[in-house]
Amino acid sequence: MSGIKTETLFLNMGPQHPSTHGVLRLGLTIEGERVVNLFADVGFLHRGIEKLAESRTYLQFIPLTDRLDYLAAMANNLAFVLAVEELLEVEIPRRADYIRVIVAELSRLTSHLVWLGTFANDLGASTPLLYCFREREDILDAIEILCGARMTFNYVRFGGVARDATPAFVEKCRKFLKTFDKRVDEYEEILTENAIFLSRTKGIGILSAEDARSFAVSGPMLRGSGIKWDLRKEAPYCVYPEMDFIIPTGTVGDVWDRYMVRVIEMRQSARIIRQALDGLPEGDSKAKLPRVLKPAVGESYVRTEAPKGELGFYVVSDGTTNPCRVKIRSPSFMNLAALATMSRGALVADIVAILGSVDIVLGEVDR
C-alpha cells in the first residue's frame, strides 16, 4: 500500500446532528474511522441567562433557571433558591424541605431516564427510549398534579415551594414507585445483559480518576471514575442527611461504569422518594417572606448535586431587588471538557457513545 497518498479528514459533527443532543458542534479529525483529534464547539444556544438575571428581580429569575437543564428543572430551581436563601437567612418549614427533596429526586429520575433512553438510542437500540419515556410520563404527570407544569416548573420558591403537596400527588408518586423498580429491571434486561451493549460500552472512553479530578468533572461521571463524591452526602442540604441511600461508584471510568452508576442512582432516588413520602411532615409549605425581596448585601455560593453533577449558583447581592451578579457553575459544561481526553484514539461510533455517556444538556452548557 506504499505510495498511496492518504490524508486525514475533517468531519463537522453538528451543530445539526442526530446524536449531539442539541446544538453542539464537534470538530473531528479522522483517519478512516479512527479519531485523531476532537474539539467541542459550544455556544450555539447561548442566551445570556447570567446577564438576564441582573435585570430581573430574584423571583423573576427562577423561571429562567428552568431553562438551564430543562430535563431536570426542579434541581435548577432548588440550587438558585438555596443560594438566595443563604442571603435571606430564612427558616424553611420542614414540610417544604421534604417536598423539595421529593421533587429534586423526581427530577433526577426524569433526567436519568431521558439520558438512558437517548444513550441507548445513540447505540442503535431504539426501544429503551420509548420505555424510558413511558416512566418519565408518569413522573411528569405527578409533577403536573403538584405544580401544573411538566417541563419548566418554577416551583421551588424562596422560603419553600409554590404549592403544597396534595394527597393526589403523594398517591400518584406511590403508584409510580410501586412499578418503577421492576421497570428498571426491564431496562437492565434489555441492556445490561446484552453482549452487543457490553462490547459497545466496556473499556470505551476511559476517564481515569486523576483526569476526572483535574477536569473538575462531577456527578455520575466522577463517580463512574471511582471517586466517591456526592454533595448530598459530602455537603448535605435540605433533608438529605435524614435519608438512607448509597453512593454507587464505578471502577474503570469507562462508558459502562457511567451507565451502571446512573442505573443504580435511579434505584437509590426511588428509595429516597419513598422515605421522603413516608416521612412527609404536616405543616406549612412556605415560610413568610416580605413581598419585595431585598437580600442583605453580600454574596453566596451554594452547590447542589444536580442529576448531571455539581450545580452551583454564585449570587452577589447589592441590597436591591435585583441580583448584582449571578454566576452558574453548570455540570454539563465542566463535564464536556473531558470529552477530548476520553475519546483519544476512539472510533467515530465510540464518540457517539462517549458523548452520550457524558449526559449533556445544551441549555446548561451554553446558558
Binding site: 479528514l9 468531519l11 463537522n12 446532528h17 442526530p18 446524536s19 478512516g32 474511522e33 441507548a120 438510542n121 445513540d122 447505540l123 442503535g124 437500540a125 431504539s126 426501544t127 427510549l129 420509548l130 420505555y131 413511558r134 434489555i190 441492556l191 446484552n194 452487543i196 451493549f197 462490547s199 459497545r200 472510533l347 467515530v348 461510533a349 465510540d350 464518540i351 457517539v352
Partner: protein
C-alpha cells in the same frame, strides 16, 4: 369456458409466436408482475414493520390513515416521496449520483426473476440460480458505493466505505453457509433445491448453516444490529444522506426488496420453499418469508448496533471458521453415509 380458453391460449402461444418474441413477452409479463409484487410487498412490509416495532416499543404505530390500523400510511408516504421536488445538490458528481439508486434498484429487481414462489410461479428457473442471486445482488454494493461517493458528503463517504467493507466480508460466510445446501441437494437450481426438500427441510440437516445464513443475511441487507452503513446516530443516514424524494424512494424500496430476497432465499434454501400442507404453495412461501421479515423487525426492536470493527472481527473470526466447520462436517457426513 373462459378458463378453458385461457388454458388453450397458454398452451398454443409458444407454438404460434416465434420463439424470441414469446420469450421476450414472457419476461415482460414476469417483470411487470415482479414490479407490482415488490411495490405491494414493500408497502405492506413497511406498514407491518411500523406496527410490530410500535407494539414492541409500547406504542401503537400508524392508526389514522385509511381508518383500519393506518393501513394506508405507507401508501401516503410513498405518494409524498413521489411528489417531492427532485433535489440534486450542487456539489455532487451528477452522473454517479443520479445513476446510483437505479443500479441498486435494478439489481434487486433482477434477482426476483429466479425466485421460485411456487412450483410453477417462477420468472426463470436457471440451473445455477443461487449463484445468479448472489452475483447480481453483489452488484448492488457498487450502486451503494456510487451513491456514497457521488454525494460528495463526508458522512455518505464513510457510510459507503462501511457498506463496501461489510458486504464484501459477509458475502464469504453467506456463500459458505449456502454451500452445505448445494452439497445436499446436488443442484444449483433454486427450484431443484426446493424439490429436494420434499421430505425434510434443510434447516434440520443444516442447523448451523441456517444460523450463519441468517446472521450473514441480516448483515447483507444492513439491518440492525448490522445497520452500520446507515447508522443514524453516527452517520446521519449514511450513504443516502443527500438523497431525497424519488431517488431516496428507490434506495428505500431496494432495501426492503432486498430484505425480502434474503427472506425468500432462506425459505428456499432452508425452509422447504413452497412445501407445506393444506395451503397453496405460494401462500406457504410468503408466510415463511414473512416469518423472516418479522425476525428482522424483532431484532431491530431488541438490539443495539455493533461497531464497525467489532462487526468485521465477528465476521472473520467467528462466522467464517464456523461456516468452514459446517462445510467440513457436511462433507464428512455425506461421504460416509
Amino acid at each position: 369456458m373462459i378458463v378453458e380458453l385461457l388454458k388453450l391460449i397458454w398452451i398454443l402461444l409458444p407454438q404460434l409466436l416465434p420463439h424470441p418474441v414469446y420469450e421476450l413477452g414472457r419476461m415482460g409479463v414476469a417483470f411487470v408482475a415482479i414490479m407490482v409484487f415488490i411495490t405491494v410487498m414493500v408497502l405492506f412490509m413497511v406498514w407491518f414493520e411500523r406496527k410490530v416495532i410500535g407494539h414492541i416499543q409500547v406504542r401503537i404505530g400508524p392508526l389514522h390513515t385509511g381508518r383500519w390500523h393506518g393501513w394506508a400510511q405507507t401508501i401516503a408516504d410513498a405518494l409524498k416521496l413521489f411528489l417531492k421536488e427532485d433535489i440534486i445538490p450542487r456539489a455532487v458528481d451528477r452522473p454517479v449520483y443520479v445513476l446510483a439508486p437505479l443500479v441498486v434498484f435494478v439489481t434487486t429487481v433482477v434477482v426476483y426473476l429466479v425466485i421460485p414462489f411456487s412450483k410453477n410461479l417462477v420468472g426463470r428457473d436457471i440451473n445455477m440460480g443461487i449463484l445468479f442471486v448472489f452475483a447480481v445482488s453483489s452488484i448492488a454494493t457498487i450502486g451503494i458505493f456510487m451513491g456514497g461517493w457521488g454525494s460528495n458528503n463526508k458522512y455518505s463517504l464513510l457510510g459507503a466505505m462501511r457498506v463496501a467493507a461489510q458486504i464484501v466480508s459477509y458475502e464469504v460466510p453467506l456463500l459458505l453457509s449456502v454451500l452445505g445446501v448445494f452439497m445436499l441437494a446436488q443442484t444449483l437450481s433454486l427450484k431443484g433445491i426446493v424439490e429436494a426438500q420434499h421430505n425434510v427441510w434443510y434447516i434440520f440437516l443444516q442447523p448451523l448453516g441456517f444460523v450463519i445464513y441468517v446472521i450473514a443475511g441480516i448483515a447483507e441487507v444492513n439491518r440492525l444490529p448490522f445497520d452500520i452503513p446507515e447508522a443514524e446516530s453516527e452517520l446521519v443516514a449514511g450513504f443516502h444522506t443527500e438523497y431525497s424524494g424519488l431517488r431516496f424512494a428507490f434506495f428505500f424500496l431496494a432495501e426492503y426488496a432486498n430484505m425480502f430476497v434474503m427472506a425468500a432465499m432462506a425459505t428456499v434454501l432452508f425452509l422447504g420453499g413452497w412445501h407445506g400442507p393444506y395451503l397453496p404453495g405460494f401462500v406457504w412461501f410468503i408466510l415463511k418469508a414473512f416469518f423472516f421479515m418479522f425476525l428482522m423487525v424483532w431484532l431491530r426492536g431488541t438490539y443495539p448496533r455493533l461497531r464497525v470493527d467489532q462487526m468485521m472481527s465477528f465476521c472473520w473470526k467467528v462466522l467464517l471458521p464456523l461456516a468452514f466447520l459446517n462445510l467440513l462436517v457436511t462433507g464428512l457426513v455425506m461421504s460416509f453415509i
